[in-house]
Structure formats: structure tokens, C-alpha cells
Symmetry: C2
Subunit: 330 residues, 2 copies
């Protein structure tokens, strides 16, 4: 069984958008985001509805950016980290568009792009919106501690991105093609520390990366850019080490979305969250890096498949990573 699937009739990124909170807007990538919230409550009563509204804003903006009508979209494929992905289903409620909810934790954006690409490349529909989000305040209290406690983060913990990113894929009409993808297996190396998700996810990312190179017959230098999703700074070094042990030097063309989004002292290990890779991809990566014809990028969103219950029950943290290959054919 091969993990890599090829989109012979390649889907294209028709349009995209990003919405972020104040902390992300003030970070090094701030200039690339489309909508920057002044208040992370986003005029809503709860953080969960704030996140859901960010998804709505992201979809609406991507529709406008693509000069589309909402009814042009065949399906919304979305996910987030709140229990039962209510932020996604509540956002989809705002649109007269079919809905497929996904959950692969922070790798969900990769999963959504793969499913959307298969639906479009297979000729089942013309356009699909892929959107994922997260919100520091809804996720911190769901997975870790009440916000009011003001708990000190551990040295390896990552800061959950407040943001939503959306790509609208289409059968035609763009430069950035989705060429192939490697669907990840669940990898569990026995990590139990929910404050060290980079360590749990790095082996999954390395596994998918190695499998991708093996099945495509490509070397690491084939890609101009390789980005993992949200390993953070510590997880990023683990990923580099794991590939190094497999004889692959990934350093020069590699970075991690989670390691780039913050530069403040509170979040030294970087970012995580289903909104991490989707906001960085749909802003900095598409606006700044993927501009030249021929440019090739491998995006490897990473996900830690734990819950608060599984952690409290002493279970380890299974992880997954999906690799998606993009090329600028403009």
C-alpha cells in the first residue's frame, strides 16, 4: 500500500485568506495577514464563537478575494481543536454550502486540502473551501488549565495560534497547483507529556517525510521550501535530527510554521494549533514564497491526537502528519 496519491488533473489554489488575533498580528509575520483582530473576542460573547466567527470571516474573504459567489463553492471542508469541532460546524451553518467536518488535530488543514484535491481532481466538484482555525483562549482552557489561573507554561509548551486560514481550491484558474500528497500513518513514540507536543509530533512528520521521498523518488533538494506545521522550535530540532539519522539533511530549505509566528518571550517554543499552519500558509507562504513560476513547496501539517481525557487516563500521544506538494505553474 502506497501512502502517496497523485492528482493527475491538478487542482489549483484559486484564492485564500487569513484572519488572526492581536498577538499574531504583532509577530514577525504580521504584515502578511489579511484580517487582524484588535480584540480576540471578535465581538462575540465567547472565545469559541470568536473562533467560529474567524472561520466565517476567512471563508467570506477568500470568496471575495477569488471574485466568487458563495454558491460557487461545492463543499466547505473544515476542522478545529474544540471538542466536537463546534467552531467549524457553527461556521458552516452560516453558508448554504455542503459541509464535511474533519479532525486530525493540527494537521487538519493538510487533510482538508487532500480531500478537497481528491474531490476536485476526481471530477466530483469544481471548487472546495478548506479552512481550519484555533484560538488560544478556547484551547488553553479546554486542554490545559482555566485561563483565570494564569498558569506558567512549561519550557516545552507551545502557544496556541488565534487565527483561521482558508484556501479555496479550484479545478482551474490559479498558479499554485496541488500536485500530490502523502497521507500520514498514526505514529506513537510513547510521549505522554501534553506540554511537549513537538516531541510527540516530530516522529510522525519525519515518518511522512521519509515515505514521501521514497514513494516519489525525490531527493530533499527537489523542494525549494519544506514547512512542517507546528512542531515549534524544540520539535523542529527533533525533526531535523530524525531526518539526519536517516541520512537526509533538511536544514537549508526547511522551516516550521509554528517556529515563525511569534518572537516574544511568552512563547519561546513557538506556536501550535489548527490555525497555525493554515494562517501561515495562506499569508506568508503564498504571498512571499510561492510567487515564482516553478517554485516547489512541501507542506507537512502535523497533529497530536490526544484529548484531555486520554491524557488524564495516562495514555500516550499518537500523532499524524500529512505532506502536500505544491508547485507554482504560473
Amino acid at each position: 500500500m502506497k501512502q502517496t496519491i497523485w492528482f493527475k488533473k491538478t487542482p489549483y489554489i484559486h484564492s485564500y485568506s487569513s484572519v488572526v488575533g492581536p498577538k499574531e498580528a504583532n509577530g514577525p509575520l504580521g504584515g502578511y495577514f489579511d484580517i487582524k483582530l484588535k480584540d480576540d473576542k471578535n465581538n462575540q460573547k465567547t472565545y469559541e464563537m470568536s473562533e467560529s466567527t474567524m472561520q466565517v470571516q476567512a471563508i467570506k474573504l477568500a470568496v471575495i478575494n477569488g471574485d466568487l459567489k458563495e454558491c460557487d463553492i461545492g463543499v466547505i471542508i473544515s476542522g478545529d481543536l474544540t471538542n466536537e469541532i463546534t467552531c467549524s460546524s457553527f461556521a458552516a451553518r452560516a453558508f448554504p454550502i455542503p459541509f464535511l467536518g474533519m479532525y486530525d488535530a493540527c494537521s487538519t488543514f493538510g487533510e482538508a486540502v487532500i480531500v478537497a484535491s481528491a474531490l476536485i481532481s476526481g471530477g466530483f466538484m469544481d471548487k472546495a473551501a478548506c479552512v481550519t482555525s484555533s484560538h488560544f483562549s478556547s484551547i488553553e482552557r479546554q486542554f490545559r488549565y482555566p485561563l483565570e489561573l494564569g498558569t506558567q507554561p512549561t519550557p516545552t509548551s507551545q502557544w496556541t495560534v488565534t487565527g483561521a486560514g482558508c484556501s479555496i481550491l479550484s479545478s482551474q484558474g490559479g498558479n499554485i497547483a496541488v500536485e500530490c500528497a502523502t497521507i500520514g500513518k498514526v505514529v506513537d513514540m510513547g510521549i505522554t507529556d501534553a506540554n511537549n507536543m513537538g516531541a510527540a509530533m516530530a516522529p510522525a512528520a519525519a515518518d511522512t517525510m521519509l515515505r514521501h521521498l521514497e514513494e516519489t523518488g525525490r531527493g530533499i533538494d527537489y523542494y525549494d521550501y519544506i514547512f512542517t506545521g507546528d512542531l515549534g522550535k524544540f520539535g523542529k530540532t527533533l525533526f531535523v535530527d530524525l531526518l539526519d539519522k536517516a541520512g537526509i539533511n533538511v536544514k537549508s530549505n526547511y522551516n516550521d510554521c509554528g517556529a515563525m509566528i511569534y518572537d516574544d518571550e511568552k512563547s519561546v517554543q513557538g506556536a501550535s494549533g489548527a490555525g497555525c499552519v493554515s494562517t501561515v500558509f495562506n499569508s506568508f507562504i503564498l504571498k512571499e514564497l510561492m510567487t515564482e513560476p516553478g517554485c516547489k513547496l512541501l507542506l507537512i501539517p502535523t497533529g497530536a491526537l490526544l484529548s484531555k481525557v486520554s491524557s488524564l487516563q495516562g495514555e500516550t500521544i499518537p500523532s499524524v502528519a500529512h505532506a502536500v506538494s505544491f508547485v507554482n505553474r504560473g
Copy 2:
């Protein structure tokens, strides 16, 4: 935008399996299930791991039933109702097979079959395993009350199925073809009572049903059987009423999986849960109903997209339903 997608190169159900708890085994469909647990702890320490193990058992048995090897399966597409679908990701960890996690609540089995069918029909892979599960004890305490309270269920509440059902879809080698599917929109009629999910889901099921008939140009009599997922007995009457108001008489060829699985006094409204439609479909429906060549069935799994947090925050219950058309081509 059309909600219905057609699988020109139709995938087939290659093999299938069902695993249920003692209460389901003692119900009217007991004779059709493959594995019947004597103890719903399933030799595990927690109910969550019991449910996860049921998924593992279901996948392994479907592989055996289909005379396959695990490495023949291109992807496991799975979901359940536990927070962050850990029962599914922990089950997928047991297999060297790529994993796509889905969440559309109790309609996830329909979603999984649609995504698997697109992957196979589009030529991206040859075989995919679709599996969903639920467990009364893990879900009751997650969504409602601690089990130790022994809370009296309200008159409209449904009993969560303890069970897992698996279909392995293949590009060839079976009689039951997946012919087309209608992907549901999120429908929210303002229901806020988490103990009346049939009322929340029935409008979504009716919406998808009407859209399916409209887009396929079929009458209600085209199908020998129409099954909704888990509206329960109360939700089933609402579904019939809603279609009746639209001028469609669905009574004679229609039933609801959730209304069939129990006949005891504790669960007068019937069943719900992501394991409801998947166990009934992969047992009674495939073994008893879909045996004659030419037989046509429309399966409409239904999902209530709420969480405990969204309910406590006073939000309404958005719902979704996906319709999948099966035909026996044997």
C-alpha cells in the same frame, strides 16, 4: 452548486463487520452482529479504550471477511463521538495504514463512505476502510452526566449505541455499489435541548433527502429502502411529517436505524451514536435487505453538531445529514 456527486466508476463494498455491546446483542437485531461483547469494558481499563478496541476488532474482522491483508487497505477513514475522536486515532495507531479522521457527529459514517468513494472512484487508491463507533458509557458521561449519578433519561432522549461498524470499499469485487451521494448542508432550526437530538437532526435529514430527490430526479419510490441514521422514534415521526409537508410520502419504504436496535423499556426513543448507523448498516441492512440484485437503498446518516460546551453556552444545535445511494449489482 449541486450537493449530489456521482461515482461513475462505482466503488463496491468488498467486506464489512460489526461489533456491539451486550445491550445491542440482546436487541431485535442481535442475530445479525458479528462480534457481541459479553462485557462492555471489552477487557480494557476504560470505556474509551473499550470503544477504541471495538474499532480495531471491526477493522481486523472486515479485513478477514474480505480475505485481505491489512496492507491492502489504502486508508482508514474513521470517526467517533469522543472529544478529539481519540477512539478512532488510537485504533488507527494499531494499523500500518494511513489515517484520515472525520467528525460529523453521528453522520460520520456517511461522510467516511463519501470520502472513501471519491478516493476510490477518482482512482487515487484501490481500497479504503470506513469505520465509526460509539460507546454508551464514554458518551453519556462526556455529553450528559456522570454514570454514577444514574440520571433518569428524559422522554425524548436516545440511548447511545455501544458498537463499531466497518465497511471496506474497493474499486471492484463486490455486489453492493456506492452509486452517488448527497453531501448535507448544516441545518439549524433553533433546538437547544441536548436531550432531544432527533428533533434537531430531522430537519437536516429532510433537507438532504429533498435535495437528493430534486438533484437526481428520482421519486421516493425509486428506492426499495430508505434509512435515516439515528433520529430515534420521535425524530423519525418528525422526518416523516416534514417530508409529508413537502408532498412526499416516505412511510412505506422508510425506517430509522436508531429506531430498530432496541426494544427494551430503558430506551423507548431508540438509539443514537456514531456506532448506530454503522453497526445496523454493516449487519442487518447488508445481510438481510441488500441481498437481491437490483435492490436500491438510500442511507442518510444524521449528526447533531453540538458539544457540552456549546450546550452550556446556550447555543442551538446545528445538524447535518449525508445521503448515500447503494445498489446491488450482483
